[in-house]
Symmetry: D2
Subunit: 331 residues, 4 copies
């Protein structure tokens, strides 16, 4: 695979012609303000040169656009005035599932006051069992949008079906791809096409390399606004619900320019563990946290065990702030 | 969760009324020739009785319709005159990816001659990398359909997007849900609604219980024609591509009435291992096998390492037949 | 690493001198009737030649003596007139733990009658909890020895401590290294020095490569009588106690000349699964099976759930025999 | 299982008599200044009472002495004036393997200056391959002892064989049980009998519960000076050598009174990851860190990839100190 970074304001029609004449596949992209051409396989393209090319990189890894081989500086994903990947650790908080406007409003105000920047909440819910609460769907999105606007927080919520893309385009600020859809390649392409910021969870059985390849599907559609989210992998251990792979998260940071988020709620499975996992993720370098908060967790319609109360969340935010400061960051 | 098996030809409008008056959720289904009502949660329904009820079962497991608690006799899934779950071990064979009509035709004739009953081939291909061959899509389906009709074999191929359901409804005999979409609940519901036979692969990070719950989504839409397919799980071992979980397959057989298929090609990752894994699956009780065969594996556009030649497949079929006989089965 | 296979009856003192003069480490071994020299690292030895050398092999894999790169023909491990690795599938059966002479005698007679060749039973028991029955120790070995002699079956039992090696040397026919001690390198060396047949279980968290490297420790001490035993690995799946890695077993067979055994009892965890796993292992090419049988499993002091009754074992032996026949083998 | 905490200075001979007359197994222990009696199984002991009993606890978990059900206050393990489990985070540092006196001396002085309290170094080395450097053995212990005395640091090193216990008793301050011997129950009992502080690594395939049960073997011999060490588990992920299970470590802290150590070097596998994993472990609540430092890592005889230089270690210590302060601890 060759990646050509093109010179700014330079005509590259001759290069395109050369590629058309070779038997190579190629794709033209504009990412992060750069014109790029991807061309493959190697044997057809390695001898091509053109003066429109600023840099030509032969990429050996199975992910290209998400790699930091060609883009050394970290990417910052902007959602309104929230900047993920900057010095400030961004916290998205809210209920596992949207249950009612009142519930979302109560939580949104509380988490904003405590320092959260983004409002999260599930409207379409991927549930292991068809008999579990499946979310309010479109109605849930409307509630989130309304409360987000009221309180002044951009909203993050999960998409499950390519057929819902218009709703997400119109109402949602950051689109989450959940762990169960981490290799739903149709859905990845679709959110790539929408161009909106994407929070891409790692699949519970996926390697770090596969996670970066999933991001590659989105970037390949020209959407560079991807935040990677580690949320725990499947291992033999059962004292936690999933194993938060802090090492994999750190390894990913060394491989990519994309910002990285950690979700301590899902791997914890029980709220006693959430604070420690959140702090560990921050200490290891996470740029963002995704935390479940419910006004009355014991009555929650899903994931009751792992959601924090607003009070506990406030304490956590204070701990995160002092930790961030010790690390030379902000929260 | 209560499962009511209703008496044949008995009016159950009174029961529906009772359920409507309770605060319970309930769903009426017709599966395997039986009228069923599912009603939950327990506290609202445990005192309901009605003379239209033949049997009332209180189900404690997280899967209900796919469990053999209420349906002891094994389910047979019929595709034309191919019966999966009967005494005969059914073999589906064909290329990993449909590449051309000629390729499919060559393989189809060879595998049919050797004893395969179903023609498999990938048209829409879920690939870890966006730079890998993504399949011929709709054109691939047309090739499969044409060759299947010519040779006289029903076809099995994978669906990846809810938006493609009409094509699958019109052209495909058995719809495969791949491992990456094993918990794509929108897609599971969609194939449930189509009503056609489904080959449901186990997700590479999913437990047996989650696999049965995925099947539950399909059955819950009234489609009982589900064959479960074990294709290897993610473990730390790397001498094979995935770990074929023969034990999990056997455990599933003790939990469900649905027939079970094994895919020895994907976990093997290299063709030297395919025969042994196929024979092991048959010895352990698989009702069906899914095997990749390519006329010239070394030139295959995907999974070149693990596809069998037609010659090797024929040898394998002969070994399967003699093994099946020793086990009192047929192949 | 260089492996020199020396010519028979040829003086190799000159070669030793050359090696002494180089800075290489080297070791002289006699294995399977061949004189061998291992020498490393490569840079010191690659130019050494000598006319006593029949074949010189540069080994790149992390295991050498256990690899089939230098020894193509399968190794047969002989215990009296029991030959493991030959055409006949050898079955070792007996109780998880030796509880009394009467218990062992009852089982031994039953399993022998059904066709088992070796008597297995635990005397020193590695138990996860110090509060579980820890085995009868030396007394257990004496019971096994006595019953083995009476019934005419060689005995297999597990060693846990290097300090017990004399007892095992004097009384035991085949020494088992359990999964928990699969990388207890002191113990591996010790059984290497004893020279007796070893049944080497794979560690529950070990790769196939590490398993062969564990065997390498034993062969490196000059003891080539090693049978590898797959007994299930740790994965996320919980419907079985461990995941019997049939694929890893088959992969190992392609890498080594050593015979391979499967233990279906431990991964099953419950007796309903034992038959299917045993048959799968035979179909996949196992040379030996290790099966737990107890006269009254429900009263067993350990692993009550997974031990077969003598009646069930007899049925299984008959199924194994007919399967073996279909595979061109014997049992 | 019943655990009786006995009153101080109270005669309990009558209780012993009652237990002798029952059919129960029981064991008298003195741990943390308390006389304890463990008695089981439940049905024989549940009706026993005696006035020498201060508290009687019916324990349902598979670990008893290591549980915090009976001992709420955290245990502090003292090695000279180093207190593990107190407010101060204790750091043990040194080379993976002892190679020479000079090497150990250089590292010891550097790590002490940077703030490490304990000197670690491998003398007996458990190596996956018999062809890897196996450590200097007894000579290595002598070097560690000499340098430790010179520099004024207690020493930590690994035991591999019960037959070496006298050397460890005489020369070593804290005895490490490695991951490969985490369920070598003979060795666990032996270090239990020695009474010295033990650093007990979690086995790479062991659950948190099994880890606590391994500790139980040591406590059961009357040795309460156990520090648990998380060092990464085996998972499918390969961007790191092992998966540091921060969640499992936090879960363990909620289950036990024993202090907890994290080893970030082994799971990292490469030094770029060590800092982040060390900081994450501290943020999650680790009481101790075990870190590999080598004067010239690229020349190390083992684990060259993951050892820090003294300079990098000093930077890490400073980061740990400021993090500890932000958490209200000390380092």
């Amino acid at each position: 695979m060759m990646l050509y970074i093109l010179k700014d304001k330079k005509d590259y029609s001759l290069l395109k012609e050369k590629l058309n004449q070779s038997s190579a596949s190629f794709k033209l992209l504009n990412l992060y303000g750069k014109n790029l051409i991807l061309a493959w396989p190697d044997q057809y393209v390695k001898n091509i040169s053109d003066e429109s090319i600023e840099v030509a990189i032969e990429v050996k890894k199975p992910y290209v656009l998400s790699s930091n081989e060609w883009k050394k500086e970290p990417t910052i994903v902007n959602i309104g005035d929230v900047n993920i990947g900057s010095n400030k650790i961004v916290v998205a908080a809210g209920p596992c599932a949207v249950e009612s406007e009142e519930q979302v409003e109560t939580v949104a105000k509380a988490v904003k006051r405590a320092g959260a920047s983004l409002l999260r909440g599930g409207a379409y819910k991927p549930r292991t069992s068809p008999y579990s609460f499946q979310g309010l769907g479109e109605e849930g999105i409307r509630i989130l949008r309304k409360v987000g606007d009221e309180v002044g927080m951009p909203i993050v919520t999960e998409i499950m079906d390519t057929r819902d893309s218009l709703i997400f385009k119109n109402y949602v600020d950051m689109i989450q791809i959940g762990a169960r859809n981490a290799q739903n390649f149709s859905l990845l392409r679709e959110v790539g096409k929408l161009g909106k910021p994407v929070l891409l969870k790692r699949g519970l059985g996926n390697t770090v390399e596969e996670w970066l390849q999933a991001a590659e599907y989105i970037l390949f559609e020209g959407n560079g606004n991807v935040v990677l989210c580690e949320r725990g992998i499947r291992t033999f251990e059962r004292s936690t619900r999933f194993t938060l792979d802090i090492g994999g998260m750190v390894a990913a940071k060394l491989m990519t320019h994309l910002p990285i988020c950690a979700d301590p709620s899902h791997p914890a499975g029980k709220r006693e563990l959430v604070h420690s996992l959140a702090l560990a993720a921050v200490a290891a370098g996470a740029d963002m946290l995704l935390i479940e908060v419910h006004p009355t967790p014991e009555k929650a319609l899903s994931d009751a065990e792992q959601q924090l109360t607003p009070e506990s969340f406030e304490i956590l935010m204070n701990r995160i702030k002092s930790l961030a400061k010790a690390l030379g960051r902000d929260a």
